[in-house]
Amino acid sequence: MTSEDLMHFVRTRKGTFFSVALHVAVVCWGLFSFSARSMVAPVEDLVPVDVISEDNISKAKAGALLGKKDAQKLLADKIGEKKPTEDIVGKVDTKQVTETDAAPEPKPKPEKPVEKKPDPPKPVEKQPDTPKPLAEKKPDPPKPAPAEKPKPEEKKPDAFNPDQIASVLNKDKPKQPPKPQQTAAATPEPPKHKSERKYDAERISNLLNQKDPTRQAVTGPELNANASLGTKGGAAAENSASWIALFQQQVNRCWKPPYTSVDANPVVAFNVRLRRDGSLEGPPVPVGAANTPFLQSYRDSAQRAIIACAPYNLPAQYYDDWSFFQPVFNEDSRRT
């Protein structure tokens, strides 16, 4: 559309043109005149930022896609001890002692594990695949089972797919030298029982179920049975702002500090011990001395507040934090 066309349009359809122009004018006027009040940005916390790849994020968070958003801790499975395997053997043994029915066959088997003993070191050298040696060993005692058993074990390696969680698993394994040691520790046991060991057909299912204990997720210092999406900052478990704010709010309800002279900057602290129900374990113990009459009355007012406002309603999961802490009462910018 050239400018002549535009002019022509304006000339021929004045009504439409003015209508459009007016609408634009009104909208513009509204835009500027109604936005007189600027937006107030909410105060936000500082968040440390690292630049890492997407892949790394998923590894670090080690979350499950369908996990709970609010989970406090990362999913972290316990690295199992090999109890089940050993126990089965052991139990069978003890029981066999009393029954002594089908004893003969098992006896030869124990010898094999003994022979394999030397083997563990090798797997250790092969290291990356630690679990395998373990798995191979256990299956040995029960002959029928072993054939099947190795398969599930071998399947594990299959789990190493490009999938993120799998890669996490993969990463974890190399990280865990202790495992070989565990296997080493475990191996000695079978020999102890070898003479008593007996094959029990009823236990086949147990044997089949034997898996190498593995840790499913990397992160998380503590065990947590619930899958999670991962915690955003990874510090949620350490986030104690909530109980602090709660305590401040609650104690402030009872605190009526004496009005200070303009330049006074009183600071008084107490050692406070709380029980799980939020009540005071004992009277708050002032820290330091109150040298002036004013500081004395300031401290008295704070002490009264701590006592008067108990019991406190604080989140139970942070009890470790608030069981014993030190409230510090002071003037900030209140008095000018």
Binding site: N170, K256, P257, Y259, N330
Partner: protein, 452 residues
């Protein structure tokens, strides 16, 4: 495919992977360790908005049949004092959960708890067989149930208000850790009559406006009364037949005398902190200079000698320095110099002009009247001139005087027109301004030191 990608990955990024694993492990360790180390976490608690301290002062228990009025009166005066300070919020008696009948026993703490009080006062007033009044009080801590302070006083029955003021001061001190100011008086100029023929009399009252006494008859104009630290004497300026002169007036005896024998006009007198000297301005030609007179030896000493108007001198509480107003720099400003004279240092640098400086008894502030922009404001500044704060502004506020504890200022406000001036008080935060009741118009207040 799987294998190859796996292989590639392990070849390419083992270090990065380790880095992340390491970082995660480090994070876990880092999070875990300080947690146990910081078992005793410091939690900062800051007060919210200022709120006056809630306190309950139920009527005192009458010791005998005829003591009811006094017992109620004492409690009322205490309530009024604490409330007027702005720092306390006495609870309405209608909210009291119990009637105190035994002054010696602690109140029923549980029933008072909902009021969230910081103190409960109980007391008893008894007329003794010898005709004197015995007043006792106890201040209870409503949380612990302990008695925080308690006293008993015996006096002539007519002084029951004074006892109430003293008890108020005791409560003030116990709760705030500072000296009170209730047991004090104020001298001021009482004004009556039409504005063109105003009668000005010297008057004396309790700080709460009660017990007004007139000290002069009003035949002559009186200005700028000031209290002696001894509390028995007032110095003021009076227009007599000749030039205005500075007088000394004894409250007890009613005697008065002219201070010094100066040629010309002498004005704006003030006592030294020890009460032994009077510092004043003396007009000399178009200028005025500061002089100090020793009341015992009657010797006078010149402190300033400038071709300017030096006036409104005031001693620091330790007597070592003097602040005064001078227009030597052009406009009236506040200067500070040694009590022996010498170089003066200007401390006020704001817009407008400053006058009537007065040093706080605490020594921390100098209060002043500031004129500018069509307003007369009352303000305070630190003694080095920093931290200036205007407490109240408007038309014609003037003449601040400090309470004995330096926490409250009294001044007068003259709206102009046909109305006359009134006294107001304001605390040094500027938060609690209120009118001081006087029988008529009043100006030029001066606070006494504590009586006891």
């Amino acid at each position: 495919m799987n294998n190859s990608s796996e292989l590639r990955r392990s070849l390419i990024s083992p270090t990065r992977r380790e880095l992340i694993a390491g970082a995660v492990a480090l994070g876990a360790a880092g999070l875990g360790a300080p947690r146990s180390a910081l078992a005793q976490k410091q939690v900062p608690i800051q007060p919210g908005e200022f709120a006056p301290i809630p306190i309950a002062i139920p009527p005192f228990v009458p010791g005998g049949a005829g003591d009811g009025d006094v017992a109620n009166g004492i409690a009322q005066v205490i309530n009024n004092n604490l409330k007027r300070s702005g720092l306390f919020a006495p609870v309405d008696p209608a909210a009291f959960p119990e009637r105190i009948s035994n002054f010696d026993a602690p109140p029923q703490l549980a029933s008072w708890r909902p009021l969230n009080l910081q103190g409960i006062v109980t007391g008893r007033a008894t007329r003794q067989p010898d005709g004197r009044l015995k007043a006792e009080f106890r201040l209870w801590d409503p949380v612990s149930g302990q008695q925080r302070t308690g006293q008993q006083y015996v006096t002539a029955p007519e002084y029951w208000r004074r006892i109430a003021h003293i008890i108020s001061d005791q409560i003030y001190t116990a709760m705030l850790g500072e000296k009170g100011y209730f047991d004090s008086r104020v001298v001021f100029v009482d004004e009556s009559g039409p504005s063109e023929r105003r009668v000005k009399r010297l008057a004396l009252m309790d700080q709460d406006g009660a017990n007004v006494r007139y000290l002069t008859r009003g035949a002559d104009l009186v200005l700028t009364p000031r209290f002696s630290p001894s509390s028995q004497e007032i110095t003021y300026m009076e227009f007599g037949q000749g030039d205005p002169r500075v007088y000394l007036f004894n409250i007890e005896t009613g005697q008065r005398e002219i201070v010094g024998n100066f040629p010309g006009m002498s004005f704006s007198p003030r006592f030294s902190p020890d009460g032994q000297r009077i510092i004043l301005s003396l007009q000399q030609g178009g200028n005025s200079n500061l002089f100090v007179m020793d009341l015992r030896s009657r010797s006078t000493t010149r402190l300033t000698d400038t071709p300017a108007i030096d006036t409104s001198p005031c001693y620091s509480p330790d007597g070592s320095q003097i602040c005064f107003e001078s227009d030597r720099g052009g406009k009236p400003q506040i200067y500070v110099m040694s009590a022996n004279g010498g170089n003066a240092q200007r401390i006020s640098f704001g817009e407008g002009s400053y006058s009537t400086p007065v040093w706080s008894p605490r020594g921390d502030y100098i209060a002043f009247t500031k004129q500018g922009g069509g307003q007369f404001a009352i303000g305070i500044m630190k003694t080095d001139g920093s931290g200036e704060r205007i407490l109240t502004a408007g038309f014609h506020n003037e003449g601040p005087t400090f309470s004995p504890n330096g926490r409250v200022l009294m001044f007068f406000r003259d709206p102009g027109g046909t109305a006359g001036p009134s006294l107001y008080s304001i605390d040094v935060s500027g938060r609690f301004e209120q009118k001081v009741p006087t029988p008529g118009y009043a100006s030029d207040p001066a606070w006494s030191p504590l009586l006891s």
